[in-house]
């Protein structure tokens, strides 16, 4: 009897047949002390960028600070050990930063940054060793003076320089009647080794998340834009054709696009239903959406399966606050390494809206083998009631287990270490190619185990005000091996190659996978 009890203690917790990961709150000891501060102009935003700039393979973190300065934290965590970060002077210490995304803009192999701000946006060139310098002038980037809240990037066909999309929010000067004052989103296309003047993406409807995504695997990504219906008039969710050498054009009803009006705040994407096409989870208030293709790749029509699959984050599941939820950053990752994508949603009241939960726990929705989801945030230990905004689900200590960092509004950021008690195996894969777009943004990574293939579109953008570039993580479940291949942005596919699980691999175009 005593032995049985010990065996129970040693076994991972389960939820509907899947392992619940165990997270250890290391906020107090990890060395991260940022707060996303500020009032009205900082009710949205609060993103975090995760990327390696020190060269040790572990991601650094850049946290937006609102009225406080943005801060870059160098990752000093020992592999598999407790999380340790050190704030360093990196040149990114600007105030009014709402969000941050890493992107090797000039394809020199050193990560650059895009800082979204309530004010002028700033692109920063990486100089190595986590040092960054302003590059607006050098790259011809017009940062405008708006309230920026969304970002996405792609390399259009034939281009050696990326195309950026930046979404903006309310006209800050309209203090009495701000509704309907959404300022223009912009598309920055290449001009030589820099950017042309921004092209307005009109109509603009106060976007809070954007994502370049190849929704129908046509080879040319489109731009999905999630918009906050609180501020637009006549608006809707949007998807733009961004065809090379052509003006942006909205998808139309004739193409199957159906209007959807939500308090759009964040986009997460992965292939949930295994049909080979990306699916999209959108956060909102009192609701969430999980869209899958409704009629195949020839028609831009999506159906919502959030309710049917329990991919819902519409009200607190713990803490006793009955009121509806407010969702922000969303991200698919496999947090228990069972080979099924899970979904993390950062939540928190806009400010003190009495009709919405003040104790609004983050969600950790575990993907189940039947395609549905089961809530495990409280059992996993990440059900914080702070006013969350941005987040990153990322392996911070290089042990193949996905850790979590969350930026909170007007309180300190939180960080949780996945203790690795899940029994599943994993892969961490990084993409490399020569020339432009060194990190292979727009590629698809496929991981095959038997008849089952996990697919992941490599994107830059989405979430809420922050993203990551670096290792792309796959859970493998009980099998310690898989075949991997990459479909590169130019459409070429690498050969399938067998790799052993529980390892990091560099996937370089034209080369066999190389253990890191």
């Amino acid at each position: 009897m005593r032995l049985f009890a010990l065996a129970l203690l040693a076994s991972p917790a389960m939820a509907q047949g899947v392992e619940i990961p165990h997270y250890i709150d290391e906020t107090a000891t990890a060395g991260i002390s940022s707060t996303y501060a500020g009032e009205w102009e900082f009710m949205t935003g609060g993103g975090v960028a995760a990327f390696d700039c020190s060269g040790d393979g572990k991601p650094e973190l850049l946290l937006a600070g609102g009225t406080q300065k943005a801060t870059l934290y160098r990752n000093d965590s020992p592999t598999g050990g407790a999380l340790k970060f050190s704030a360093i002077a990196a040149g990114v210490e600007l105030d009014r930063v709402t969000g941050a995304y890493p992107l090797d803009i000039d394809s020199d192999g050193i990560m650059d940054l895009v800082l979204l701000r309530s004010g002028e946006d700033v692109v920063m060139r990486g100089a190595g060793q986590c040092q960054f310098t302003r590059a607006n002038e050098a790259w011809g980037f017009d940062g405008r003076d708006l309230w920026s809240t969304a970002f996405a990037a792609t390399w259009e066909k034939g281009q050696t320089w990326p195309t950026l999309a930046i979404g903006t929010y309310i006209d800050r000067t309209q203090d009495a009647f701000p509704w309907g004052s959404c300022t223009p989103n912009a598309l920055y296309r290449p001009k030589g080794q820099g950017f042309a003047a921004p092209l307005d993406l009109k109509p603009s409807f106060c976007s809070l998340s954007m994502l370049f995504t190849d929704w129908n695997r046509s080879g040319t990504p489109s731009l999905r834009v999630s918009n906050d219906r609180e501020y637009y008039k006549g608006g809707t969710e949007q998807m733009w054709h961004i065809a090379p050498d052509a003006p942006p054009a909205l998808y139309t009803a004739a193409e199957g696009w159906k209007p959807l009006k939500i308090w759009g705040m964040g986009i997460a994407s992965t292939d949930v239903n295994g049909d080979g096409f990306p699916d999209y989870f959108m956060t909102s208030m009192s609701d969430s959406k999980l869209q899958v293709l409704a009629a195949g790749p020839d028609k831009a029509t999506f159906k919502d399966i959030a309710f049917a699959t329990h991919a819902i984050a519409q009200r607190p599941y713990t803490g006793g606050d009955f009121r509806p939820s407010t969702g922000w950053h969303a991200e698919f990752q496999d947090v228990n390494n069972d080979g099924v994508q899970d979904l993390f949603v950062a939540k928190g009241n806009v400010s003190a809206m009495p009709d919405f939960a003040m104790k609004d726990p983050n969600n950790l929705l575990l993907g189940l083998p039947d395609g549905t989801f089961a809530e495990a945030g409280d059992k996993a230990g990440v059900a914080s009631f702070a006013q969350a905004r941005g987040a990153s689900v990322v392996d911070l200590n290089g042990d193949g287990q996905m850790d979590i960092v969350v930026v909170n509004r007007n309180s300190g950021a939180e960080v949780w270490r996945n203790d690795g008690s899940s029994t599943g195996h994993w892969l961490q894969l990084a993409l490399h190619q020569d020339g432009a777009n060194r990190d292979g943004i727009g590629s698809w990574i496929e991981v095959r185990q038997g008849d089952r293939v996990q697919r992941r579109e490599i994107t830059s953008g989405g979430g809420h005000a922050g993203g990551q570039v670096g290792w792309w993580h796959f859970g493998l479940g009980a099998t310690l091996a898989a075949d991997v291949r990459v479909i590169w942005p130019d459409g070429s596919a690498s050969d399938w190659a067998a790799v052993a699980g529980d390892g990091f691999y560099d996937l370089t175009k034209g080369q066999a996978p190389m253990a890191h």
């Binding site: 609180e230 006549g234 009121r323 400010s351 809206m353």
Partner: protein, 438 residues
């Protein structure tokens, strides 16, 4: 001509102020501008405050209208207070004898107090806007007025607002929890009753099931204007109910462009528009300007319109939950065509009668009583989708079109429209009968 969309000053509501501008810098002109600006903000807050579904919006517009009227009636011997005429309104504070007052300052204080309270749950942007207008309009209203008059007027306005709010607390509609959707609700499992029509978790229970029990304003009770029961439920293709559903279905399959425009024009969705009562307030304001009515007539109209529409929603909701009828989308998908989708989103509450039909009929009844039965106008009020303006030969022509828009949109059967209009007409009679002039 494309419908004017999102004009910065709020189109129709700014028109109230426009009347006053015709009077140059008169005190009445200032008062009208203050009133118009607060109404403009209120309609924006209706659009942007999470609990503001149409019934809730109608309630707030009623209290605002009554408060605006009483602000003037308290100092105008020609006007007859609504105290004693509206349910539960037994007393309001009087102005102090011998003290000078200013109407603009009083109106500003009353509207400020009411709007800050009734929209206290709006988001940070709404709070920001309210604070901005509080400062701006207080100065505008008081400009050129003696300090003692300003102080007395502000004090009186605040006291009047507090009294109106105190009256409002006991009507049953003051507290809206969970955005109006009950935490627990037992559906009637018998065929023909309402079932959820969306995949939004919140909407698995119907909106405001107890709203019909609220205290009405002018009509005696929620069931004072009963309507006949709906068609007997049946899934038999030979039944009258099946025929009613087939009319919705076949209509949706052959909508003309004009019918589609009508459905869009009157959709007035919660959280995306001023809602139906806000739409009709905007129409009223536009007509008031076109006819050049003075401030006194404006506040009379705002009070009657507000009362009529709020009572219409109470009466309508009473009947909706008495009959608890299934929506067309649920019936048609089950019995006729599982792939059918209506043009409009189906609201999350029972079908019979049609709320827009009931309250549009109530509004048209009041406007007809005020401005005549053949007043032609072009509705310039803003719609979220920027639909083209529509012109009407009378208020009833507009109300008839608003009612039929629900059939074109696929969210109501014809009987809900017809009987809803009858109910609205009956309910409006109580508001029209209110005595406002000595």
């Amino acid at each position: 001509m494309l419908r004017r969309e999102f004009l910065s000053a709020g189109v129709a509501l700014a028109l109230l102020g426009g009347t006053a501008r015709a009077g140059a810098e008169t005190r009445e002109g200032v008062a009208a501008q203050v009133l118009a600006t607060w109404y403009h903000l209120a309609l924006e807050l209706v659009r942007h405050t999470p609990t503001y579904t149409p019934p809730v919006a109608s309630r707030t517009l009623a209290y605002m209208g009554v408060a605006a009227f009483e602000a003037l009636a308290s100092g105008d011997a020609r006007l007859h207070s609504l105290v004693g005429q509206l349910n539960g309104l037994t007393a309001l504070p009087d102005r102090a004898a011998g003290q000078g007052y200013d109407t603009a300052v009083i109106l500003n204080a009353v509207m400020d107090g009411l709007i800050h309270d009734l929209f206290s749950n709006t988001g940070p942007t709404g709070q920001h806007a309210m604070q901005t207008l509080t400062a701006r309009l207080a100065q505008q209203a008081a400009d050129g007025v003696a300090a003692d008059v300003v102080a007395a007027s502000r004090s009186y306005g605040a006291t009047l607002a507090a009294a109106i709010l105190e009256w409002s607390r006991t009507d049953g509609g003051a507290v809206i929890e969970n955005m109006g959707f009950p935490a627990t609700y037992t559906l009637n499992p018998a065929p023909g009753h309402w079932v959820p029509t969306s995949k939004i978790v919140l909407q698995q229970a119907p909106l405001l099931p107890a709203w019909g029990k609220n205290r009405p304003f002018a009509m005696p009770a929620g069931d004072s204007c009963p309507i006949p029961p709906p068609t007997d439920y049946s899934e038999d293709p030979a039944s009258a109910f099946y025929a009613d559903a087939m009319e919705v279905y076949t209509t949706s399959q052959s909508l003309t462009d004009d019918q589609k425009q009508i459905a869009r024009f009157w959709s007035d969705d919660a959280m995306l528009s001023y809602t139906p009562p806000g739409h009709w307030i905007a129409i009223m304001a536009q007509v008031a300007v076109e006819k050049g009515v003075d401030l006194t007539a404006q506040v009379e109209a705002l009070a009657r319109m507000g009362v009529a529409m709020a009572d219409a929603f109470i009466g309508c909701w009473q009947a909706k939950f008495d009959y608890d009828l299934i929506r067309p989308i649920s019936y048609i998908k089950k019995v006729i065509d599982p792939k059918w989708e209506p043009m409009l989103n189906t609201p999350p509450f029972p079908e019979y009668p049609s709320g827009h039909s009931t309250q549009s009929a109530a509004a048209a009844s009041v406007l007809t009583a005020l401005f005549g039965d053949s007043y032609s106008f072009t509705d310039e009020s803003p719609t979220p989708d920027g639909a083209a303006t529509r012109s009407f030969a009378s208020f009833w022509a507009a109300a008839d079109e608003a009612a039929m828009s629900r059939l074109y949109g696929g969210i109501h059967f014809r009987l809900a429209i017809q009987n809803g209009q009858d109910q609205g007409r009956c309910i409006a009679a109580y508001a029209i009968a209110l005595k406002t002039r000595v």
